[in-house]
């Protein structure tokens, strides 16, 4: 055993030990964050949370925020899904090796990590400001505007998954259909999208998980509302926005409500992303 050999061995053990330490640090922070969210959230959970609105403040619950979140999220998904699936189909089926296709795919990837607060301001400019001007201030912020802002964040996720999933469909399927004289739009809508359906659904779930935790774009679009409303043309509360508001409040009871909301939100998002990842792990695709 020479000195060089010993040194190399020690370096190796040291480096591998440090890599294990890094993994433990990562897992430690995950545990720490989840632990606090669970403990503080569960201790603040009660039925009032789901039955009372935020207008009662301390004594209230988060019912209107949960309903609002659900409406805004579903609106966002309802807008983003058709556009995203069609755009992804174009990238995969029509523009695989064209310059425009490559460009759009490239910028879609950039949009995936674009700052969400800027998207909020974009929607503020194109929807909130014009609707304020058109209705003389009767309609300003709205749940609809919030939905559009979230749709812009969901869109690139859905485009990318659809694109990748369609490219996994074997080309024999396309050739078989085309040789039977099926027109391409029928081939795409009735065979290819159907074949890639589970993957596309996964992408939509992933997008839903992503947007339901978004706060920043809702601050200037849906704004918030202390009362229950089902009308998307009114200001609307959402869970992340109420958590933001309550966490910044000095009162301890407000903090407890914020933790309860955080717990509900985290559970919802983690279950969604777990479910979609479970389906995804069957079809190997990357999602960075």
């Amino acid at each position: 055993m020479g000195a060089l050999y010993l040194r190399r061995r020690i370096t190796n053990w040291l480096a591998l030990g440090l890599s294990m330490l890094a993994t433990l640090i990562g897992l430690g922070f995950l545990g720490w964050i989840l632990w606090d969210t669970l403990m503080r959230g569960i201790s603040a959970l009660n039925l009032r949370l789901f039955s009372t609105i935020t207008a009662y403040g301390n004594e209230g619950g988060l019912a209107n925020a949960m309903v609002g979140s659900l409406i805004i999220d579903l609106l966002g998904i309802a807008i983003a899904t058709p556009i995203g699936v069609l755009a992804g189909t174009w990238l995969a089926e029509y523009a695989h090796h064209t310059k425009l296709g490559e460009t759009i795919r490239f910028f879609n990837d950039i949009l995936l990590s674009a700052p969400s607060i800027v998207m909020g301001l974009f929607v503020y400019t194109i929807i909130v400001l014009p609707s304020t001007a058109l209705t003389h201030g009767n309609t300003t912020f709205s749940g609809f505007a919030g939905g559009v802002a979230l749709a812009l964040i969901a869109l690139p996720v859905i485009v990318r998954t659809t694109d990748e999933m369609l490219r996994l469909v074997p080309s024999t399927l396309r050739e078989a259909a085309l040789s039977l004289g099926v027109p391409q739009w029928k081939l795409t809508t009735q065979i290819l999208i159907r074949a890639a359906r589970s993957g596309i659904v996964t992408g939509v779930l992933l997008a839903l998980a992503r947007i339901s935790g978004e706060t920043a774009p809702l601050l200037f679009t849906a704004f918030g509302n202390n009362f229950m409303t089902l009308n998307p043309m009114e200001k609307m509360a959402s869970l992340p926005q109420i958590i933001y508001q309550y966490a910044n409040d000095p009162g301890d009871k407000m903090h407890a409500l914020a933790w309860a909301g955080a717990f509900v939100l985290t559970m919802f998002v983690l279950l969604l992303s777990l479910a979609s990842r479970l389906i995804l792990s069957r079809n190997k695709v990357s999602h960075d």
């Binding site: 869109l155 485009v159 998002v269």
Partner: protein, 339 residues
């Protein structure tokens, strides 16, 4: 044969049908193309809307806007330096802290860990990426910032800073230039630029490590096994074979994490302290572009609102450039693979 009507009608119908199909195909193609162009439109629109909204701020402050640290709503004079500085420094700190940890995790998961442990550990790390940023923010505000100010900050100010509690400068603060300024602070709370950097680092670690792990797996087994056959240790294979082979993609992954950190709003707003001041100390509170917008936009009018839009435009441009470089570098490896 020609007396049978069907024989004449059938080719006609087939002809009509193929013409109809061709028309539908064309329409369908256009519909898809328009949807795809909407992706570009939202990117261009976001840049255009913020630029348009910020036009009066750009017009009244000019280039001076970028270098001025004034933030005076009373006199309606604004400069972008404080929030831009806060955004860049917090993100830079986050990347500096997250890169070694992410590299360790990726190395552990691709080369060290036993096979049965890889999937559960990597799913757990990816779980970290799924937690909404507002939860990071709350955790940072209620749990981490108090912990930081009780346990980490006193140590840093006493041993590295230029304003320790007992007034005696440590050896490090006396001999290493600038370090005293970086860690000196008389601000009593946990919110600071460094706290925001740490919370951001936790947030971007799963992104960077998952990209790194993915690209590490693209290294041909042939290369690694040749090195092992020559007697290399696991670390030598990782550092001398895997890392050089994937260098551009690794840098791309790091920049992707940087892009996330730059644009993050909620996790930062809670722990940055939201002070409109320029301080050399990492332990003093600051502001980032996103936190400034989140805090002030609802109440802002006139020039202040325009300034916030201008800030959003700057943020968009900065992240766009970082993400552009990231994607270009990631693409280099994909080319090498020939996919």
């Amino acid at each position: 044969m020609s007396s049978q009507p069907g024989a004449i009608v059938a080719p006609l119908a087939a002809d009509q049908r193929s013409r109809r199909d061709a028309r539908h195909d064309r329409q369908f193609r256009w519909l898809l193309k328009i949807c795809a162009l909407l992706v570009l439109a939202s990117l261009v629109g976001a840049a255009g809307a913020t630029l348009w909204g910020g036009r009066s701020a750009f017009a009244s402050f000019g280039w001076h806007f970028l270098v001025s640290s004034t933030w005076d709503p009373g006199n309606d004079v604004y400069g972008a330096l404080v929030p831009v500085y806060g955004t860049i420094v917090t993100s830079f700190l986050a990347v500096m802290l997250a890169v070694p940890i992410s590299f360790g995790i990726a190395l552990y998961l691709s080369e060290v860990a036993p096979r049965w442990l890889r999937t559960p550990v990597s799913s757990a790390i990816e779980l970290l990426a799924g937690i909404p940023s507002i939860i990071y923010g709350m955790w940072g505000l209620f749990i981490f910032a108090p912990f930081f100010s009780a346990h980490i900050k006193p140590w840093l100010t006493n041993y590295l800073g230029d304003s320790p509690d007992d007034g005696k400068l440590s050896w490090v603060a006396q001999h290493v230039p600038f370090i005293g300024k970086l860690f000196g602070s008389s601000y009593p709370f946990g919110a600071s630029i460094l706290t925001a950097g740490i919370v951001l680092a936790i947030m971007i670690t799963p992104f960077i490590s998952s990209v790194m792990r993915e690209v590490f797996q693209t290294v041909p087994t042939r290369l690694k096994e040749s090195a092992y056959a020559l007697g290399s240790s696991t670390w030598e294979v990782s550092w001398d074979i895997v890392v050089p082979y994937t260098r551009s993609a690794v840098i791309g992954g790091i920049l992707l994490g940087l892009g996330r950190a730059l644009g993050e709003t909620m996790a930062v707003t809670f722990v940055l302290g939201n002070a409109m001041q320029l301080s050399p100390s990492l332990l003093d509170p600051g502001s980032s572009i996103a936190s400034t917008i989140a805090n002030q936009f609802s109440e802002a009018v006139g020039l202040q609102k325009s300034t916030l839009m201008a800030l959003a435009f700057l943020l968009f441009v900065i992240t766009f450039i970082v993400l552009l470089i990231a994607r270009l570098m990631l693409r280099q490896l994909a080319r090498k693979e020939g996919t």
